[in-house]
Amino acid sequence: MSDQSVNEEAILKELANSVVSLNEDRAASLSREAVERGVDAYKAISEGLARGMETIGEGYEKGIYYVPDLLVAADAMYAGINVLRPHFDEQRSRDSHAGCGVIGVIEGDTHDIGKNLVMIMLEAAGFRMVDLGRDVPPRRFVEAAAKEGADVICISSLITTAMPTMEDVISALKTEGIREKVKVMVGGACVSPAFAKKIGADAYAHNAAAAVRTARLMLKNA
C-alpha cells in the first residue's frame, strides 16, 4: 500500500473518530486537512464522517448512545460535510446517492426529534433527504416526492390524533397516480407495524437505525 493510501486511510479513520467522539471542531479541521491532502471529498464523507455516524447509530440501537449523542455526533458530521461540500462533484454525488427521501412530521403534530434523527441517519447512509419539517399537510409530501423524484416518503407522528392523517398521504399518492413509484415508511411512538399495514404503508421503522435498514431493503426490493 502506498504512503498516500496509508495517509488517506488514516484521515478517513480519524474523520470517523471525530464524529464518534462528538468533536465538531476536530471534524471540521480534519475535513480541511483532507482537502489539503487531496483526499476525495465525497470519499471523506461516505467513508469517513458517515462511518462515524454509522457507529453512533449502531451504538444507539444497543443502548450505548442516546439521543444527545446522536445529535452532537450529527453536528460533528455536518461540520465536516460543510467544509467538504464545495469540493465534490454534485452530479457524482447525486449519482452515488443510495436514494432520495422526503421526510416530515404529519399535519397536526409538532414533535420532531424522531424525524430529525431518522433524517440524520438516512443522510449518513447516503440518502439525499428533503426535510419538510413538522405539521406537514399530506399534499406537501406528495408534491415534494413528485418534484424531487423521491424513492421513499418517511412520515413521523408521536401522537395518536395525527396518525389517521398519515393515511391521507397514501390516498393522495394514489390520486396523483404515483403510488407505485414511491415507498412509504411510517414511524413514531404510537405507530405500529399493524397500523402501517392498515393504512397501506410499505414499512414501519421503530427507530432511526431501523429506518436506515428498512429504507435500504425497500429500495433493494423495489
Binding site: P68, V72, D75, G108, T110, T160, T161
Partner: protein, 353 residues
C-alpha cells in the same frame, strides 16, 4: 352491567386507604376526549377553563369513569410562554398549542432568563383559576409538573438535548430557573388551597431511555425531581401521581429513591413491562396502566376488552392496588364504544370478592 357497589369517589378513597373495593377502578385522563365528545373546539378547550371543566364533568357522567376532572389548562410545551416566549394555539380541529418563539435561543439567553410570577404568567395564572374551579367543584386543586419538559420548553428539545453533552452547566442553570418557578407555584397553591388539598401529577417523557441515558437522568432530571418531591412532602401534599412516559426500566432504582407520599400512583405507557414495574415498586405504590392508546383509537371494542382483560388479570391483585388506564391520555379520537369496553372489562374481569 353497571352494578357497582361503590361510587367512584368512594372507590378511590378506599383504594388509597388500602381498604377493600368492589372492582378495579378505571382512570382515563380524558381531557381532550372530553372536548371532542362535548363538541368543544380544541382552541376553546385550551383557552376557556370553565368550558373545559364542564366538558370533563359531562364526559365523566356520560361514561361513569372513576377519575375526576383534572386541571384543564395545560399542554406539554407551555413553560416557554410563561418565561417570555410566544405560543401558537392552532385553530385546527385537533391541535396542540406549542411554544413558537423560545425565550432561550442560545447560550447567551440562559442567564438572562427571569423567573416569572405565577399570578401574572399566561399559563399559570389560568391554571390557578382552574384550580379554584376544581376546588369548588370537587374539593381538590390539581398541579402538573414535567420539570425536564419545562426546561425543554425554554430552549427547545434540540438545544437542551445537545447541551446535555456540550454545555451541561447551561442545562443546570435552566433546571434551576425552572425549579425556582416550580417552588413559587407550589407556595402559591399551598397558600390558596392548603397542601392537603393539592393533587400533583408529574410526567417524565424526556427523562426516559427513549431519549437520554440513565446517567443523564441521574445527573439532571432525577436530582431536580427529588427536590420537587421533597418540597411537596414538606408542605403536606399527600396525593402524587408519577406517570412514566416511555421506557424508564433502567432507572427504576432511582425512582424508588424519590421521596413521595405513601400510596403514590405510578402509571406507565406501553414501553414498560407493567408487571415487572409493579413488582419492583411493591406494596406502597398504586400501579396504573397501560392499555395501548393506538388500540383505543383504532382497535375494535372486542380487541380493547381482550387487552384490558390481559392487563387486569396480571395486575388486579397487585398488593399496592391497581387502576386500569390508557398508556397515556385518552386519545380524543377514541370511539366511545372503546371507552365503554374499558369500563366493561373492569366490571367483567376486575371484580373483587
Amino acid at each position: 352491567m353497571k352494578d357497582d357497589q361503590l361510587t367512584p369517589k368512594e372507590r378511590f378513597r378506599r383504594l388509597v386507604a388500602g381498604e377493600p373495593i368492589d372492582r378495579v377502578p378505571v382512570a382515563l385522563s380524558a381531557s381532550l376526549y372530553a372536548a371532542k365528545v362535548s363538541g368543544i373546539p380544541f382552541r376553546e378547550f385550551w383557552t376557556d377553563p370553565d368550558q373545559s371543566l364542564r366538558a370533563q364533568e359531562w364526559a365523566a357522567e356520560l361514561h361513569d369513569w372513576d377519575d375526576t376532572p383534572a386541571y384543564s389548562y395545560g399542554w406539554s410545551d407551555w413553560a416557554g410562554w410563561d418565561f417570555g416566549g410566544e405560543v401558537t394555539i392552532p385553530d385546527k380541529d385537533i391541535g396542540f398549542p406549542f411554544v413558537s418563539e423560545r425565550p432561550v435561543r442560545g447560550l447567551s439567553d440562559v442567564d438572562k432568563l427571569n423567573v416569572p410570577d405565577p399570578w401574572t404568567a399566561p399559563v399559570m395564572s389560568q391554571r390557578i383559576r382552574c384550580a379554584h374551579l376544581n376546588m369548588e367543584s370537587i374539593g381538590k386543586a390539581d398541579l402538573h409538573f414535567n420539570i425536564t419538559g419545562m426546561v425543554a420548553s425554554l430552549a427547545g428539545n434540540d438545544l437542551v438535548l445537545r447541551w446535555y453533552r456540550t454545555n451541561p452547566a447551561a442545562v443546570h442553570t435552566l433546571y434551576r430557573k425552572v425549579m425556582d418557578y416550580a417552588l413559587r407555584i407550589i407556595d402559591v397553591y399551598v397558600t390558596e388551597f392548603g397542601g392537603e388539598n393539592i393533587s400533583v401529577m408529574e410526567t417524565f417523557p424526556l427523562d426516559s431511555q427513549n431519549m437520554v441515558s440513565p446517567q443523564t437522568f441521574a445527573e439532571f432530571g432525577f436530582v431536580y425531581n427529588c427536590e420537587l418531591n421533597q418540597k411537596l412532602l414538606s408542605v403536606g401534599v399527600k396525593r402524587v401521581h408519577l406517570h412514566l412516559c416511555g421506557n424508564h426500566t433502567a432507572s427504576l432504582p432511582s425512582w424508588k429513591q424519590m421521596s413521595v407520599p405513601r400510596r403514590t400512583v405510578v402509571s406507565m405507557g406501553s414501553d414498560m413491562d407493567i408487571k415487572l414495574t409493579a413488582d419492583f415498586f411493591g406494596t406502597d405504590y398504586i400501579i396504573c396502566g397501560n392499555v395501548s392508546t393506538e388500540l383505543l383509537q383504532s382497535g375494535t371494542p372486542e380487541a380493547v376488552m381482550a387487552s384490558c382483560r390481559e392487563i387486569i388479570l396480571k395486575l388486579k391483585d397487585h398488593p399496592g392496588g391497581f387502576i386500569l388506564s390508557p398508556a397515556c391520555s385518552l386519545p380524543p379520537l377514541t370511539p366511545p364504544v372503546n371507552v365503554y369496553a374499558m369500563l366493561k372489562a373492569a366490571r367483567t374481569f376486575g371484580r373483587y370478592e
